[in-house]
Symmetry: C2
Subunit: 421 residues, 2 copies
């Protein structure tokens, strides 16, 4: 008998019919002899509808009130799932984030979990009940106000609860049946992985894989909570994310997969003075505006001018704001030019096996060259190589790398219907 | 400077536009120098939509989960009103029932308020903020579970908060601009009342007037909280419900109005034995099934048979269940017959002035006779006369009484658009 935390996303709960299907799965897990805690996201488009209503009454709504509003979505799905579970004859109790002991910082809209004290949840489990917990929400320790956890909040709730309860596994359900070697919509012969380690999953998530939110993987790694990515539409065992890279025997370490990301843009500053503090000024200005920059490339300076070029990537969503900030900065600087380009894409190869295979970077570059794709920027980590290419080349780059490193499988990928939230 | 509690019903909050209109009214009240606490119902049809979803996942949903579900509706309207108020530049803070200190019994779906400890609300007021409180909901003292207050719950929240805060007035907003001498849809020359006492309002509410829920009026009377019935669509001062009947000077006591009710049915038992305990058996059986019976009429028994007839009214909604119960009972009794009739209506005349005008009952009967309407049953209280008539005669009966007692006014009644919730 194990203790299993199951997290269901919005697309798995988008209708009464889907909620009943989820409830049946939950009850079946319980009947197999396991203790079950369920964490729910808001139903389908609920959150977007609430955001839309808020925008209509106040374009700049107070963050505290926004949290009160949005958490209603998870309360609705939470209680409906509890009702559906009860209809299958199981004992069940629902909990808000606050009732489940999810204590957070006070930062409304993007609170961090400080601790989880799931006394009431444990009590319900001890009584043989299935516990249903509203995801995405917590309560500020000091003011007892309701908070939300930001993007990927429900995954984080599930992982944090699993850690606090000492769960054996945290299952993350969506409309995809596991982690693939590539996005099957781009690479048709992408293969589902049975298992990968936390570090590999972190690199994939950081490189554009949408299957798990970076933050929840970081949390799972920190508390060593095994994650299982599954589909709520199938009985496939999915993909297990568990274990540290160090524990993988060298001869078993392989290349995990290819990730793509077309959500970033590129900014180039031409002719910035190559003296200490010039680049720092740029990066400080962006950091103060909470714009995350990613890949940074600085060429060596030209000897005669003592000037250099800096290129970096940032989310397209922050592109306009970033360029406005830099344009302001430019007025007091003697840069030669400031160039914005959002027609780029990032392709990454990830895998613990990279450490023990020295030729990977060369193979990576050759694969793209053979496909006639130009590499605009390239960076590497211990277990990842990332290249920036033109956006129109991104899919072909992913296919070329996937083929070159023989990541494909024989079975076709399975992707289920749903909103893919 | 006064402390005013304002309660807005679902039809006043049915869209973003209406929410902004309510917010503007709230902010204007604050700018007139008053402290303002706002109690919100759920938006428009939200509650019905949630009930519908619940029915789809479980036809017999657990009451605790139902309360968790339904309270989401008031959390949504509550936070949206707070956002809208903020957009008009006022300081504002929203509170759930629990945060506002609404402590209730544990009876899910129909909890009673045990006490209100509005420390956080008072604190917000002391800081110059407008406080927005979710109506209809509270928290069970023992288990800290969320509860709902049943029908008219938001009105009750408003009155209870007003009592606990020592508010000067509790304004109840809907789409009608006050209490009328009759339903203006039935009696075209119905006149808006400027003021009436709690007892009169209680009798009107008990006699079919929908403007205020009986329970909230009882609460207001018990704690002596002046109520003001107003429309959220106009600036009319509405109708003040305040003061005890005893305090009205005899010469100022008048007849208040006519109420109609077509929601009841009539059951007659013919030939029931007239011995102690026979009628009690009938009423106990209905009471155990939580069916409220209202008017009861028992004829004197016939001398030869020692049998009598009993007639009583009950809500049409309970008619089928009530008849099934009695049909079961009938098998072991020697009743002559059991008759159900839902083509009836109740018309009532209410007013403190009745006490000092002995001829009112005679006038009442004559008015109906002159209109050719037969009285099937009649009961009276100190300040009310109620007759059961045929349902098709109900409107004409109301008009005849309204005219006979000269309750009409010169100005036409004003009824505003809305869902009339």
């Amino acid at each position: 008998m194990a203790l299993i935390v199951q997290k269901y996303g919005g697309s798995s709960l988008e209708s009464a019919e889907r909620i009943r299907a989820v409830a049946e799965r939950v009850v079946n897990t319980k009947r197999q002899g396991h203790d079950v805690v369920v964490v729910c996201s808001a139903m389908g488009d609920t959150t977007d509808e609430l955001l839309d209503l808020a925008a209509q009454v106040n374009p700049v709504p107070p963050a505290r009130e926004m949290d009160m509003l949005l958490t209603a979505g998870e309360r609705i799905s939470n209680s409906l799932v509890a009702m559906a579970v009860a209809s299958f004859g199981a004992e069940v109790q629902s909990f808000t984030g606050s009732q489940a002991g999810v204590i957070t910082t006070e930062r409304h809209g993007n609170a961090r979990i400080l601790e989880v004290t799931p006394g009431r949840v444990q009590e319900a489990l001890d009584q043989g009940k299935i516990a249903i917990v509203a995801g995405f929400q917590g309560v500020n320790r000091d003011t007892r106000d309701v908070t939300t956890l930001g993007r990927g909040g429900s995954d984080t709730t599930a992982v944090a609860l699993a850690a606090a309860l000492g769960a054996d596994e945290c299952e993350i359900y969506s409309d995809v049946d596991g982690v693939y070697t590539a996005d099957p919509r781009i690479v048709p012969d992408a293969r589902k992985l049975d298992q990968l380690c936390f570090e590999e999953m972190l690199e994939l998530a950081a490189s554009g894989s949408k299957i798990l939110v970076l933050r929840s993987v970081e949390y799972a790694r920190a508390f060593n909570v095994p994650l299982r990515v599954r589909s709520s539409y199938s009985n496939d065992t999915g993909t297990l994310v568990a274990g540290a890279m160090e524990d993988i025997p060298v001869e078993e370490a392989v290349l995990t997969g290819v990730a793509t990301d077309d959500s970033e843009a590129k900014i180039t500053i031409l002719g910035i003075r190559d003296t200490p503090g010039e680049a720092a000024k740029v990066f400080r200005s962006l950091a103060d505006a909470e714009i995350n920059i990613d890949m940074v490339l600085q060429n060596i300076s030209s000897l005669e001018s003592n000037k250099t070029d800096i290129t970096f990537t940032l989310p397209k969503a922050d592109g306009k704001r970033g360029m406005e900030l830099l344009a302001t900065l430019q007025r007091s600087e003697d840069w030669d030019d400031l160039i914005y380009n959002d027609q780029i894409g990032k392709v990454s190869l990830v895998g613990a096996g990279m450490k023990s295979h020295p030729g990977v970077t060369a193979d990576f570059a050759e694969a793209l060259r053979d496909a006639g794709i130009n590499i605009e920027m390239i960076t590497t980590s211990e277990i990842r190589i990332t290249a920036v290419v033109r956006q129109i080349d991104l899919a072909e780059a992913a296919r070329a790398l996937h083929a070159r490193f023989e990541l494909g499988g024989d079975e076709p990928a399975v992707v289920y219907a749903g909103t893919g939230r």
